[in-house]
């Protein structure tokens, strides 16, 4: 009898404690939510004022955007379909040439950037760099190469190399060095050190360590990152032309500036088709590269 009374009293006690603690927890959560919500709201208002966000201009502009998008496609009648499309793509030869230029720019920048970035990544990996200072300086250099947008690099290279695809290739290359250097360095930092010890014990030098202990472990990841970078560089190569650094972006930019909307639409369609195709191919290659990686273990 007494035992059950104390038992239920205890239960009542713990239930009350739970209720009060739960209420306190809820209160705390509400305060947090309120504080966070207020801070967020202040941020939105501040950003709106700073960036001069204006609903009236936006509301007036959106119909014009749809007008613009509609004008990208010229009237195409079903009866004269082939003729109309041929008319639309009247300058196809030149655009395909620009597209080829764009793809080759992306390819060359990826090859050069990956080779240089891959080489530098061994100095930017904490476990492979021989001195902390080398590691630190290399990391900062790679960060600068990557943080400055490629189109800004393009503007800089145009000053030295003049208008044309060369400046574009160099700009994308520098950006690629920064990005690949960082990603590859992180891959390098995650390798197993046992093969390294083996080469070192057998009297190998630094280059032999890299060649026989590091590369076999990291190549599949490198491949995957490289295909991904190629995909991103095709996108970059389509836009560096906006500032005169070659590629199909130049044709797009001039056609929009000169209000040749149908031309702009035709080029945009080529760009989108290319980028979607590259995305698909790159995904396929990357899966096959990763497939090899899982085989290797």
């Amino acid at each position: 009898m007494t035992a059950t009374t104390t038992g239920s009293a205890q239960r009542r006690g713990s239930a009350a404690r739970f209720a009060s603690e739960y209420a306190a927890y809820r209160r705390q959560k509400k305060i947090y939510a309120f504080l966070f919500g207020t801070a967020f709201f202040v941020c939105v208002v501040a950003a709106g004022i700073t960036a001069k966000f204006d609903l009236v201009t936006l509301a007036q502009g959106l119909p014009r955007t749809t007008d613009f998008l509609v004008k990208l496609v010229p009237p195409i009648a079903l009866g004269t379909f082939a003729h109309d499309v041929a008319e639309w793509y009247w300058d196809l030869g030149k655009w395909l040439d620009s597209l080829l230029n764009t793809l080759l720019m992306a390819y060359l920048a990826t090859v050069l950037g990956t080779a240089l970035g891959g080489f530098l990544s061994f100095f930017a990996a904490r476990n492979l760099a021989r001195h902390y200072l080398i590691y630190w300086v290399m990391r900062r250099l790679l960060e600068i190469a990557r943080t400055v947008p490629d189109i800004v690099w393009a503007l800089l290279f145009i000053i030295a190399f003049g208008i044309g695809p060369l400046a574009g290739v160099l700009a994308i290359t520098v950006h690629t060095i920064g990005a690949q250097g960082k990603l590859f360095a992180e891959v390098n930092e995650n390798i197993s050190t046992l093969p390294l010890d083996g080469i070192r014990a057998a009297g190998g030098n630094w280059f032999q360590e890299i060649r026989f202990a590091v590369l076999p472990q990291v190549i599949p990841n490198y491949m995957s990152y490289t295909f991904w970078r190629l995909e991103l560089n095709v996108r970059s190569a389509t836009i560096v032309g906006f500032v005169g650094a070659g590629g199909i972006g130049h044709d797009l930019f001039t056609s929009i500036q000169l209000l040749y909307f149908a031309d702009a639409g035709a080029i945009l369609l080529i760009v989108v088709a290319t980028i979607m195709l590259i995305d698909m191919l790159s995904e396929k290659f990357r899966h096959s590269a990763i497939g090899k990686a899982s085989f290797a273990h």
Partner: protein
């Protein structure tokens, strides 16, 4: 049986090679294929080097000129009297990234449910929404900015819209992937307790996906600060306008100062966003957004 390394003779190695040829070298066809791949890759690279003028005398002149520019004309940075202006415009850039990301997230959130296989019964609707997202994503920010500058006019609003449109595509992809990976049991629980569709989403789906969505959104905000920095080149507001203007006017030392402001601001935003992401997500499972959707 023990094998002592110093007792292995050349004849033993030859015998082993005879028995397991593949352990010593790849098959001939495979070797030819690898050589062909490397050979054609190298040939294409050399052709590209030639095509774009890397192999000409002008290239060396350009390199010398570039080195001279970097050493002599870029440094030291100048124009510190304009620093308040540069910082204000950098603030505008960050505000553009913030509003664009927010708008994109708001547009993508409802659409991402249509794009998830486990939330939509209609397969064409799901597939169509996904492809629509891909289409929005496949135009670069600058292309959208160019379009919006034509339609809305010069200024940050065009930039905000460009970021918002691309991010709508990215977030539909990221959010719907998060939704497709969720645990079915919580939804079944709400179903069993008699909850309706809205309650299933509020109590079954959101608690599972919200942390990842917030983390992805912050990550893209970080990324968009970089994107917003270049939109000004086509007139869509932000620091890119000042930077392109200084570079084209050959005011390289002022351009250098702007680049320094940009790099420092990007560092600061990355740092803050990382702290925020860790605070918001806490110890719950963290996942960076899939690489495919993000351009670094």
């Amino acid at each position: 049986m023990t094998v002592r390394l110093d007792r292995i003779t050349a004849a033993d190695i030859a015998a082993e090679r005879e028995r397991f040829p593949r352990m010593f070298a790849a098959a001939a066809a495979e070797r030819v294929r690898v050589w062909l791949m490397w050979g054609s890759g190298t040939a294409l690279t050399v052709y590209c080097l030639y095509r774009f003028g890397f192999l000409s005398q002008d290239f060396l002149h350009g390199v010398a000129k570039f080195a001279a520019i970097v050493v002599a004309q870029l440094f030291p940075p100048k124009g510190f009297e304009h620093l308040p202006l540069f910082m204000t415009v950098m603030g505008e850039t960050i505000a553009m990234a913030f509003l664009g990301t927010l708008l994109g997230a708001a547009l993508a959130f409802p659409l991402s449910f249509f794009a998830s296989k486990n939330m939509t019964r209609s397969r064409p609707l799901q597939f169509g929404t996904r492809r629509f997202a891909d289409l929005l994503r496949s135009f670069d920010y600058l292309i959208w900015a160019l379009i919006f500058v034509r339609a809305i006019g010069l200024g940050p609003l065009a930039g905000i819209m460009a970021i918002a449109i691309v991010e709508t595509g990215t977030f539909i992809k990221l959010y719907s992937e998060a939704i497709e990976n969720l645990d079915r049991k919580q939804i079944d629980g709400i179903n069993a307790a008699g909850g309706n569709g809205l309650q299933r989403i509020r109590f079954g789906v959101l608690p599972q996906v919200l942390p990842m969505m917030l983390s992805n959104t912050l990550y893209m905000f970080e990324h968009n600060v970089r994107s917003a920095a270049i939109l000004g080149i086509v007139g869509a507001g932000g620091i890119g306008f000042l930077l392109a203007d200084r570079l084209r006017a050959y005011e390289l030392q002022e351009a250098c100062l702007i680049i320094i402001v940009l790099i420092l601001a990007v560092y600061a935003i990355d740092y803050l966003s990382k702290i925020l992401r860790e605070r918001l997500i806490g110890d719950q499972r963290r996942r960076e957004p899939v690489d495919d959707a993000v351009q670094v």
